[in-house]
Amino acid sequence: MEKSTDSATLSALKEAEKSGIKTVWDRYEAQQPQCGFGESGLCCRNCMQGPCRISPFEDGPQLGVCGANADVMVARWVSRAVAAGTAAHGGHAKHMAHTLLKSAKGEAADYPVKDEAKLRALAARIGVNGGDTKELARQVAMKALEEFSEKETPLAWAASTMTKGRVDTFLKLGVVPTGIDSVVAESMHRTTYGVDADPVNLLLGAVKCALADYAGCHLATDLADVLFGTPQPAVTRANLGVLKKNAVNVAVHGHNPLLSDMVAQVAGEKELNDKAKAAGASEGINVVGVCCTGNEVMMRHKIPLATSSVSQETAILTGALDAMVVDYQCIMPSLANIAECFHTQLITTMSIAKIPKAVHIEFHEANARESARKIILAAVDAFKKRDPKKINIPTATSTAIVGFSTEAIVGALSMVNKEDPLKPLIDNIVSGNIYGVCLFAGCNTVKVTQDANYTTMVRELAKNNVLILATGCAAGAFARHGFMTPEATEKYAGPGLKAVLTAVGMAAGLGGPLPLVLHMGSCVDNSRAADVAVAVANKLGVDLNQLPVVASAPEAVTEKAVAIGTWAVAAGLPTHLGVVPPVLGSKVVTQVLTSTAKDLFGGYFIVEPDPMKASAQLLSAISERRKGLGLSA
């Protein structure tokens, strides 16, 4: 199997091979074959009577020591994976809420409220009113922090952003979460030794936790917009070619804009650039993004995106990266080993995410700007140790038009119809010009030739007039391959879709069509797409599970992706996974996720590694939805 479809990644890997440097692809090969018990979810290490394995064959053990069967083991894995994903997004969101509170109390001067309109809209939505900006910010932050412990009422960030139909369904099935951290704890409780042994009940518990994940994601996005501004369309570039030979290159990697936005903010300061120039970097400081925090600063500061999750090591392999500064999530520990082969300074910043051999510069909200400057100066120091013989920057880059927040999309649509911005979108869905909508989300995985599933599926779906939205490393993949351009629309969009994207693009003053793929943000930002869908459903007076909207994570990796996928299903979306999750060991769990879920929520998982077959299945799911609404299928 080829490692990647991205020429820049392949070129960097060729250099690594020459130098004998091992990357994620080598480590994956060294892991082969991977254990089939783990692959099918048939092992359990939850207690010290184990580890236990269930044999998928009749003549082996069918029960663990405690009596748990395959269904229980697999369902418990799903539950814990969702809980871990929820904990990650929740941690990100809580970090944001604490910072907003400090900002309101005057304890974080570097984080003023940047988007007051968003703050006011958010406050109104969650029932907070009155006061000046600081007071409003304080109340919103307090309300946000209340979301984490167990309340008497449903999570405000879930209840206030879903359709009524969804809320009713969730209430009926008993899956309404009342606290983000409390439902994570509940998931750990119900999956520990001798608690929940009903696979269906466990899965419903996982859905409840996933809905808390949705609330956490939404909260994180809302507060990021309040503190750093709601993204608006911006033109930038993506791929390793954005690294500059004559600049001090600093990569921000991880997830939370609390760090990356601050680095982006100070990077332009004259004093720092003078120091870079004095060190020999004639082009000063060049901040680039990696992974999702890269998406955050790409949308808000036009910071170019160097690369995405699975290929994060390649940024260092160029020999031109002076510092990689990380916060949390998707940071491969291997970065420290690769950085050792070069002059690159790996800098960790968060107390919960340290890596041996990296320099740790703790990032505090109280003096964030100063910490960011310290990080850039560490990069300038590292620049002086560059080995010119090791510099090999692949030239490939693509233009990417990014920054399509919900507000930006509605803004563009309002250029077509000022009074009723959603009308043009709905009219075109009804007419079939837009056959359906697909949200691509998730990661890049070493198990799939990098970006192959994304690029195959986007061509197939766009050809069939499906409007494409993307977040996270899916967005990164499309950006690197040039799918976020008007040219891609001209080349790949079906006639109906092309007409719509052109009409909106022209009305919005772009002088051409909107890009083929609309970049809606980082992986925590999937709620932006949900917001658009909810608005459309409410306007049409239908529920989400009736809309011709689907989701796909064709190269998924993380537990966060399991959580997002689960809430997408609960929200009513047919949700494709291109990597087989470790659930096939249980017939019951497989059946519930891929079929019974449809009866309960309307949404369900489609597991299909082949991108062409997956596209066909998504198109058929869209067709079924259109028929249900009485539209041309």
Partner: protein, 164 residues
């Protein structure tokens, strides 16, 4: 004569056999002390995968063993149970056995610079790898009985549309 047989369709690739083999060839024959042993103990069989099929590859103790025929230093010999084993002190690290073995199951002790191969756990009734296999993908069976079972299975396949 008993042989180790492999049923690839049952192999989950969990490598329990590899671990059990290394532990059996460690000083204390115990997982936890084996993990602390330095240099670490070596396994004698290998779980390999190709095209999505996984299986352990293990020494066949061939009756006309190419490795034994190729060993010029008198290290490899056939013991009284017909297992092909080593006289470690005689190995000169020429790797002729590696060249000759059609299964690729002879490896190299990088510390001692000698060849390492399966000794069929000659002190045990059942080899460690077979005992460790959770799906019975590795079985110890009499060669003649195994062949007979296969013939009987074939009869069923031919007459009752049972799949192999």
């Amino acid at each position: 004569m008993n042989q180790i047989f492999v049923k690839p369709e049952k192999c989950m690739g969990c490598r329990s056999c590899e671990i059990a083999c290394a532990v059996q060839h460690s000083k204390d024959k115990n997982l936890f002390s084996a993990m602390l042993q330095s240099p670490p103990p070596m396994k004698r069989l290998f779980v390999e995968a190709a095209d999505g099929i996984r299986m352990p590859v293990v020494c066949r103790h061939c009756e006309d063993a190419p490795c034994l025929n190729a060993c010029i230093s008198g290290c490899l010999y056939r013991d009284d149970k017909k297992f092909v084993r080593r006289r470690k002190e005689r190995c000169i690290g020429c790797w002729s056995c590696v060249m000759a073995c059609p299964f690729g199951v002879i490896s190299r002790d990088k510390e001692k610079h000698i060849a390492v191969k399966c000794d069929r756990c000659h002190k045990l009734d059942v080899p460690a790898c077979v005992s460790a296999c959770p799906t019975r993908a590795l079985v110890l069976a009499d060669v003649d009985r195994m062949a007979k079972e296969k013939r009987q299975r074939l009869v069923l396949v031919e007459t009752q549309a049972v799949t192999l």
